[in-house]
C-alpha cells in the first residue's frame, strides 16, 4: 500500500500550467527524491501536498492507519494533523522567537488545556507546560541545539537554522516528511553531515521522506527512487543509477535537442 499517491495532478496559475498530469506514488518507509531544474514545479507539488494550494485537477491520496483519505481539498492545519510535515526552501522559522519556542509551537496540538485555564494559569497549565518543555528539550538534544535553546532563531548560523526547521517539522510527529532543498546554501561539509542526519531520522523515526534537492551528491547517496520533473511534467522515474544515465534527464539539466540524440 502506498502511503502517498498523486494521480493526474494538474495545477494551473491562470493560463500558466505549472504542473501537468503528474503521477507519483510513495511507498511506506521509502526515501524518494524529487529533482528537476529551477522552475520545474517541485515546490508547487509540496505546496499542493500541504494544502497551501488546491490543485486544478487530480487527486492526492494519503494513507494513514490503513485508511485512505483524499487530502487535496483539506486545509494545511488538517493535513498536518494527519501526519504530513514539511520544511521550506527559503527557511520559514519564527525568526524573532527563541529556538525553544519554535519547537514548543509545533507541539501545540498535543496541548490539552483550554483557553480558560490559560487565562488564569491553573495548576494543570503548569504541569502541561513542564511536559511540553521536556519534550522540546528532548528534540533539541537530538538535533544538537540544546545549548542554543534561548537564542533567537534568526541569530543561528545558516546550517543550524536548516536543522532547526527539520527539528520543528519532526516535533509535529509526522509519518510523511517533505524536505524542500534541505542542503541549499550549505558547504560540502555541512551537506554531508545533513545527509547523515536525514538518513538517521528516516530510520530512527520510521518516516517516509520525500526530498527535493539540487545537490546531486545528497540525492544519489540517500534516495531509493527518484522522480525527475521538467517544465511541470514528469520526465523520468527510477533508481539513482537509472536516472544518472537517463538521456532525457541529462538533456533537461544540460540542455540540447531531443531529436539530435533520438
Amino acid at each position: 500500500m502506498p502511503i502517498l499517491s498523486i494521480k493526474n495532478l494538474t495545477m494551473a496559475f491562470g493560463g500558466l500550467a505549472a504542473l501537468t498530469n503528474i503521477n507519483i506514488t510513495v511507498e511506506k518507509d521509502e526515501l524518494v527524491g524529487l529533482i528537476g531544474p529551477n522552475g520545474a514545479g517541485k515546490t508547487t507539488i509540496f505546496n499542493l501536498l500541504t494544502g497551501i494550494y488546491t490543485p486544478t485537477q487530480g487527486v492526492i491520496e494519503y494513507q494513514q492507519n490503513g485508511s485512505t483519505r483524499t487530502i487535496n481539498k483539506l486545509k494545511p492545519h488538517v493535513i498536518s494533523s494527519l501526519g504530513i510535515a514539511r520544511t521550506f526552501q527559503n527557511i520559514r522559522l519564527f525568526k524573532d522567537l527563541t529556538v525553544l519556542d519554535n519547537i514548543r509551537i509545533s507541539i501545540h496540538k498535543n496541548v490539552n488545556y483550554g483557553v480558560m485555564p490559560a487565562f488564569f494559569k491553573l495548576p494543570r497549565v503548569y504541569s502541561e507546560e513542564r511536559e511540553i518543555l521536556g519534550k522540546s528539550n528532548e528534540i533539541l538534544e537530538i538535533f544538537g541545539l540544546e545549548s542554543k535553546k534561548y537564542e533567537l532563531a534568526k541569530n543561528l548560523p545558516y546550517g543550524e537554522q536548516r536543522r532547526l526547521e527539520i527539528a520543528r517539522a519532526l516535533a509535529t510527529n509526522p509519518s510523511l516528511l517533505l524536505l524542500d532543498e534541505p542542503a541549499a546554501g550549505m558547504n560540502p561539509n555541512e551537506t554531508s553531515m545533513l545527509t547523515d542526519l536525514i538518513k538517521w531520522i528516516w530510520k530512527e523515526y520510521g518516516l517516509t521522506i520525500l526530498l527535493i534537492e539540487h545537490d546531486m551528491s545528497v540525492v544519489m547517496k540517500i534516495c531509493e527512487r527518484i522522480y525527475v520533473l521538467d517544465y511541470g511534467m514528469l520526465i523520468a522515474e527510477g533508481t539513482p543509477e537509472e536516472i544518472r544515465t537517463n538521456k532525457r534527464v541529462i538533456q533537461a539539466y544540460l540542455g540540447g535537442e531531443l531529436q539530435n540524440d533520438a
Binding site: 497551501i52 492545519h77 519564527f94 509551537i105 509545533s106 501545540h108
Partner: protein
C-alpha cells in the same frame, strides 16, 4: 514550585501595595480631583492598549476598530446603570458590555480576519464606523446627543481591579501555549499553518479577547465621565489607542502600560500650554518615532526579576 509560589506572593503583595499607596494619596488629597481624571484615563488607556496589543502586536492583525468595541461596552453599561441603577447594574453592565463586545468581535472577526495587512485595517475601520452609525441612528442610544447623566460608579478601586485583571489575563494567555501560537501567526502564517495550527481560530480568538477588554474599558469610561456620544468613538479614538501601542512597542505589555502613563501625564501637564498642546504632543510623538522606531520597549518586557539580578551582579563585583 516553591519559587513560583514565592514569586506569585511577591507580585500579589506589590499589586496590593500599589493600590493602597495610591488610595492613600487620594485620601490625603495629594492626588486631587483633577489628577484623578488623569489616573482614570491611564487605567482605561492601559486596558485599551493592552487589549489592542494582543491583536496587533502579538497576533499581528492590524485592527483599526478598537473604538467600536469600546463604544459597545460604554453604551451597554450606560444604559444598564441609567435604566436599572445601583452598583449591581454597574457590574452587570460591565460584564454584559464586555460579552456583547466580544460577540460583535467574533461576528466581525470571522469574515475580516481572512484579510491581511492594510485590507484588514480598512475592513475593521469600516465595521467600527458601522457600529458608530448604528449608535447614531438608534433611538434608545440617544442618537447624536448621546447619553447624559450616567451615574458614576467607576472609582479608583474598580479601575484598578479591572486593569489588573486585564493585564494578568493577557499576560497569562500570551505565556501559554495558545499565546505562543498567536505570536507564531504574527511571525509566519504559512509556517504556523503547516505545523498544524488553525490560524483562523487563533486570529478570531485574540480578536474576541481584545474586544472583550475594550468593552470593559468602554464601560468604565462611560461610568466615569457621566456622558457619552457616538462621536467619542470615531476612528480618531481607534488611532489614539494604536498610537499608544506603537509608542510602547508592538508586542510588549509593559511597553503599552508605560506609554499609557507617559502620554496621559504629558497631556495633563501640557494643559497649561492651551493651544500649543496638540502641537507639542505631536512633536514628542515624532521625535520618539525617529529615535525609537520600535517603540519605547520594542518587543521586550520589563521584568522585576531582571532588575533584581542586575543589582545582585553589581553588588558582587
Amino acid at each position: 514550585m516553591k519559587d513560583t509560589i514565592k514569586r506569585l506572593l511577591q507580585y500579589t503583595a506589590s499589586v496590593v501595595l500599589l493600590y493602597a499607596l495610591i488610595q492613600l494619596l487620594i485620601f490625603a488629597g495629594i492626588i486631587n480631583e483633577y489628577y484623578q481624571v488623569t489616573l482614570a484615563m491611564i487605567c482605561i488607556n492601559i486596558i485599551l492598549a493592552v487589549s489592542l496589543n494582543l491583536i496587533t502586536g502579538f497576533t499581528g492583525q492590524f485592527s483599526l476598530g478598537h473604538a467600536g468595541f469600546m463604544s459597545i461596552g460604554a453604551y451597554t453599561c450606560a444604559l444598564m446603570t441609567l435604566r436599572v441603577g445601583g452598583l449591581f447594574s454597574f457590574i452587570l453592565g460591565i460584564l454584559l458590555g464586555a460579552i456583547l463586545a466580544a460577540m460583535v468581535g467574533f461576528i466581525i472577526g470571522m469574515p475580516t480576519l481572512r484579510l491581511k495587512g492594510d485590507y484588514l485595517a480598512i475592513a475593521t475601520l469600516g465595521f467600527a464606523e458601522i457600529i458608530r452609525i448604528i449608535l447614531l441612528n438608534l433611538d434608545f442610544t440617544g442618537g447624536a446627543r448621546g447619553l447624559a447623566d450616567i451615574p458614576r460608579y467607576t472609582n479608583w478601586t474598580w479601575l484598578y481591579i479591572f486593569t489588573v485583571i486585564c493585564i494578568v489575563v493577557t499576560v497569562n494567555f500570551i505565556k501559554s501555549s495558545h499565546g505562543r501560537v498567536c505570536i507564531s501567526i504574527r511571525e509566519d502564517e504559512i509556517a504556523a499553518e503547516t505545523l498544524g495550527i488553525n490560524i483562523t481560530r487563533y486570529k478570531v480568538l485574540s480578536f474576541v479577547i481584545g474586544a472583550f477588554f475594550a468593552g470593559i474599558a468602554g464601560a468604565l469610561y462611560a461610568s466615569y465621565f457621566y456622558y457619552i456620544k457616538p462621536g467619542l468613538f470615531g476612528f480618531l479614538k481607534s488611532i489614539d489607542i494604536l498610537v499608544i501601542v506603537v509608542l510602547g512597542g508592538m508586542g510588549s505589555i509593559t511597553g503599552s502600560i508605560l506609554a499609557s502613563i507617559f502620554l496621559a501625564v504629558i497631556s495633563t501637564y501640557l494643559q497649561a500650554f492651551a493651544e500649543f498642546r496638540m502641537i507639542i504632543y505631536a512633536v514628542i510623538l515624532v521625535i520618539i518615532m525617529i529615535f525609537r522606531p520600535q517603540g519605547l520597549m520594542g518587543t521586550k518586557e520589563f521584568k522585576p526579576e531582571q532588575v533584581e539580578k542586575r543589582i545582585k551582579e553589581r553588588n558582587n563585583r
